[in-house]
């Protein structure tokens, strides 16, 4: 027997066997793919994408740089000492003017308020006063030449004539179909007046987003302010309409000697806080589009002047909460194993009819609403509740020493163990069902006592069920929040309750996402450790 063919094995038609096999399997694979496609799409849409979104939200921070583009562009250069210089106040004035029109400053306020309380009201207050800036030069110019009273003066001055025609035509179109023409600035003007041009572009965007013709709206006073600032150092361009070029030249002389509004003074006048270094540090720190601030926050840290630092002792809550969540979930898991194992054993070994009865009892909790069950625990566990009454009646506890069983960790553990018990019993049962009774008999016939037979022969074979049940219960409990919310009081709540709070009450989704991401990472880490220690192929949900 020395049939030593070295090349690839060939099929009957002379092709390599591997290729033939692949071809034969391709149709099967395609069919399999089509069968799982609906589920795959569903999982992608309802599971993978939300998780990806959550991961993204936990670092995303574009709202600051979107709302205050000019300020955040300048702030990195600020040395962080005292209040920033006038240029930054100037930039902030322009940004806020745009933001106030778009009502974006309140959203920015809530965002920054997570990092420094008070910023929200500061921004709202400032939003009401900031539109005064520019009224001085506006009055001067409107007095010199009536053309500045025309609503389209700035448009015709800054935009190209093509854009002016296009935007007017757009205004006449049916509102449902029109798409606004893109703003086009006169390049020689833009060169001389970059600030005015950029602000006017923002003005155009805002008007268009409100479906209004920018040429038909009153220009913002701050446009005059910026124009007046840039006028002295600029050479008026020649290719603007004749009357406007003239008006510009007149304006330059008219404004000579006029004292313009000082944004720093305006801001400080509105609120002293604008002189506070802390406010500016916050804006500087959270200026970049991506931030690790939410994550630092999630582990009780914050951004300090020199890198991350611990929060003050009395503001630290999350690490304690994470640890408490872990320990309580592990406790609940342990309780479920202790209580569930004997029941699963009974279920697997009783005659079918009795086992079915028992199974119904095990599944009963699934058939009643979670809220009802949890409320029932409230009735049972409270200090004037059934359990305390019975204990007092038996005489185990004194009437004035009634046990505190609810609104603390005990309450959460009792109620959660009850709720999650089926998730332990079912995998255990399905694994035990597959262990033939003959193993125990064999062990006993070989001389093992009941206990040895159980411990050496039965138990090791039920470990995969314990593993599956533990993973299920632990992961479910780590993310549970209704029950801890209802029976946990303040001491018995989980990290998920904070997440829920940030999602629905404080609306700090970024922090919620960061907390959720950490939770996910912790679970995956534990899963990995379980795989290393026990082996994930050692988990069975049945058969």
């Amino acid at each position: 027997m020395s049939d030593t063919t070295t090349g690839p094995v060939l099929a009957a038609d002379g092709r390599p066997l591997k290729a033939s096999l692949n071809r034969a399997l391709r149709r099967q694979k395609l069919r399999a793919m089509m069968l799982i496609a609906p589920l795959l799409i569903f999982i992608l849409v309802s599971f993978v994408m939300p998780i990806a979104d959550m991961l993204f939200r936990s670092v995303e921070n574009q709202i600051v740089s979107d709302t205050l583009p000019r300020t955040t562009a300048l702030l990195p250069d600020w040395d962080g000492e005292g209040a920033p210089d006038d240029m930054i106040y100037e930039a902030l004035a322009r940004d806020l003017a745009v933001a106030v029109e778009a009502k974006a400053h309140t959203r920015l306020g809530s965002r920054l308020n997570y990092e420094r309380t008070g910023i929200s009201s500061l921004l709202r207050k400032t939003g009401r006063g900031v539109d005064e800036i520019g009224e001085t030069p506006q009055d001067v110019l409107e007095g010199v030449n009536d053309i500045w009273k025309d609503r389209d003066a700035f448009g015709r001055l800054i935009g190209t004539s093509e854009w002016v025609d296009a935007i007017n035509a757009w205004d006449g179109e049916d509102s449902s179909t029109r798409i606004a023409p893109e703003f086009n600035a006169n390049s020689s003007f833009a060169e001389q007046f970059p600030g005015t041009t950029s602000l006017y572009a923002s003005y155009v965007l805002q008007s268009v987003s409100e479906e209004d013709n920018p040429l038909g709206e009153k220009p913002w006073p701050i446009l005059f302010h910026v124009l007046a600032q840039e006028l002295p150092s600029a050479t008026p361009p020649s290719d603007v309409p004749e009357e406007l070029a003239l008006a510009l030249r007149e304006a330059a002389t008219a404004l000579d000697g006029v004292v313009l509004d000082d944004p720093r003074a305006v801001f400080l006048d509105i609120d002293d806080d604008w002189g506070d270094q802390g406010v500016w540090t916050t804006i500087q720190t959270y200026g970049p589009a991506y931030t690790n601030g939410y994550f630092l926050n999630s582990i009780d840290m914050q951004k300090g002047l020199d890198g991350p630092e611990w929060r003050p002792e009395n503001e630290q809550i999350y690490i304690v909460l994470f640890i408490r969540t872990m320990i309580m979930s592990l406790t609940i898991m342990g309780m479920c194993v202790l209580l569930g194992y004997p029941i699963a054993w009974l279920l697997a070994n009783l005659p079918d009819r009795k086992a079915n009865m028992l199974m119904i009892l095990v599944l009963l909790p699934f058939w009643t609403s979670l809220l009802v069950r949890t409320s029932a625990w409230k009735v049972l566990l409270q200090q004037q509740g059934v359990i305390n009454d019975v204990l007092v009646w038996i005489g185990i506890v004194a009437d004035d020493g009634r046990l505190q069983l609810i609104n603390n960790q005990t309450g959460t553990i009792i109620a959660m163990t009850h709720i999650l018990l089926p998730f332990m019993i079912l995998p255990l049962y399905s694994v035990m069902k597959t262990i033939p009774p003959s193993y125990l008999r064999a062990a006993k016939s070989l001389g093992a006592t009941n206990w040895t037979a159980f411990w050496r022969v039965y138990f090791p074979q039920s470990v995969p069920g314990i593993g599956a049940g533990c993973i299920l219960v632990f992961i479910l409990s780590i993310g549970y929040y209704i029950t801890p919310e209802l029976v946990g009081g303040t001491k018995g709540v989980f990290i998920s309750n904070r997440i829920a709070y940030h999602i629905s009450s404080s609306l700090n989704w970024g922090l919620a996402a960061a907390l959720g991401t950490i939770l996910l990472a912790v679970v995956m880490l534990l899963y990995w450790m379980y795989d290393k220690i026990v082996g994930i192929d050692n988990v069975k949900l049945g058969g």
Binding site: A442, A443, G447, Q461
Partner: protein, 364 residues
């Protein structure tokens, strides 16, 4: 036969009911001497496993005594009985290697490590499986698993070993090899064995004695040859080997022979086994290979029957011929394939007869 006193294993008037309504084992009396290989044979549901489980201690007898070495073991828990057991599905512990499986009974007996290892290797040697000590049961073939199960049941040197259809899941050839190995081992080690099987060939080839079970009772307890040649009732005759049955009424009894008038009117000779009075209905049983159609080989005064050949089947070593006799189409005769043996043709009319002692008149 052994009496109960000197017997190694004894069932005394044992009854068993699982549900309090039906007696699964009705009245079991059985005694085995030391070293005997006894097989329990019977149709499904006849109570064989139940008997074995009572002996092993996993079921309690509802009534009666089970004695081991003269001592009642009714109240001794299974793990103290010291009885080796081989299960039909092997029941090798899947999470332990072969060696661990074998050392388990030694560990629970607190035997030292070196002695344990030596015994395990010796036991594996007995079943030629030394090379597989490190494997898991799932990595063994059915026959190998069976060998390990056997080795495990023997490793702690029990005096009594119970086997419940240990070869049921194996193919014919492997079964035959293992049958041989099991009987050899049992005799070599002087072990008393109770063996349960469905397979009558297995029962006949392996056992010192066979207990035929039906309906919760032992129908006959006898060595294989006696069982086959001298069945005591029609159930045993039917159950063991191939058998021709004819029904009729006893016409005359003369000491060791009797004359039976069949329902078809024909007269035949038979040995009265379960009949005692003239006029009683009976079922007579004749083994196919004891039927003779060569007139010269029969007694001159023997009764004969007319038969029509319906079918001739060539089976290699034997010929199997189906005949129509005395109103039944299912009468079969078997003849050896010898050079001078006549091959009957369908449609042929012949005359058949037999020695009176080969034809047994049993209960109706």
């Amino acid at each position: 036969m052994t009496d109960t006193q000197s017997a190694f294993v004894a069932f005394e008037r044992v009854q068993k009911s699982y549900d309090g309504e039906v007696l699964v084992v009705k009245d079991l009396n059985l005694s085995m001497p030391k070293g005997e290989f006894l097989t329990m044979l019977g149709p499904s549901g006849s109570g064989k496993t139940t008997c074995l489980m009572m002996l092993a201690g996993f079921e309690t007898a509802t009534h009666g005594d089970i004695l081991l070495d003269g001592v009642s073991i009714n109240n001794i828990p299974p793990h103290k009985r010291g009885i080796g057991m081989v299960f039909q599905n092997y029941a090798l512990f899947p999470h332990m290697s072969v060696a661990e499986n074998l050392s388990f009974p030694l560990e629970v007996r607190k035997i030292g490590k070196s002695e344990r290892e030596e015994k395990v290797m010796r036991a594996l040697g007995r079943v030629q499986m030394q090379d597989f000590a490190g494997r898991r049961p799932a990595q063994l073939s059915g026959g190998q698993q069976q060998r390990i199960a056997l080795a495990r049941a023997l490793v702690f040197e029990p005096e009594l070993v119970l086997m419940d259809e240990p070869l049921g899941a194996l193919d014919k050839q492997l079964r035959e090899t293992l049958q041989f190995e099991i009987t050899n081992l049992a005799h070599e080690l002087g072990i008393t064995t109770v063996y349960v099987t469905h397979d009558q060939t297995e029962a006949l080839t392996m056992s010192d004695r066979v207990a035929v079970f039906d309906d919760g009772r032992i129908q006959q307890l006898a060595p294989p040859d006696q069982l086959y040649e001298q069945p005591e009732n029609s159930f045993v005759a039917q159950f063991i080997g191939e058998n021709n049955t004819l029904e009729g009424v006893v016409q005359e009894i003369q000491g060791n022979t009797c004359i039976v008038k069949l329902d078809s009117g024909d007269i035949i000779d038979a040995v009265p086994v379960n009949v005692s009075t003239v006029g009683e209905r009976t079922r007579v049983s004749i083994r196919p290979e004891r039927v003779e159609f060569n007139r010269e080989r029969l007694h001159a005064d023997a009764h004969t029957l007319k038969a029509e050949v319906l079918e001739f089947i060539y089976m290699g070593d034997i010929f199997r011929t189906r005949l129509r006799v005395a109103g039944t189409d299912e009468f079969v005769i078997k003849t050896r394939n010898a050079p001078d043996q006549k091959r009957l043709k369908p449609g042929e009319m012949i005359e058949i007869g037999w020695l009176a002692e080969d034809c047994r008149a049993l209960d109706a």
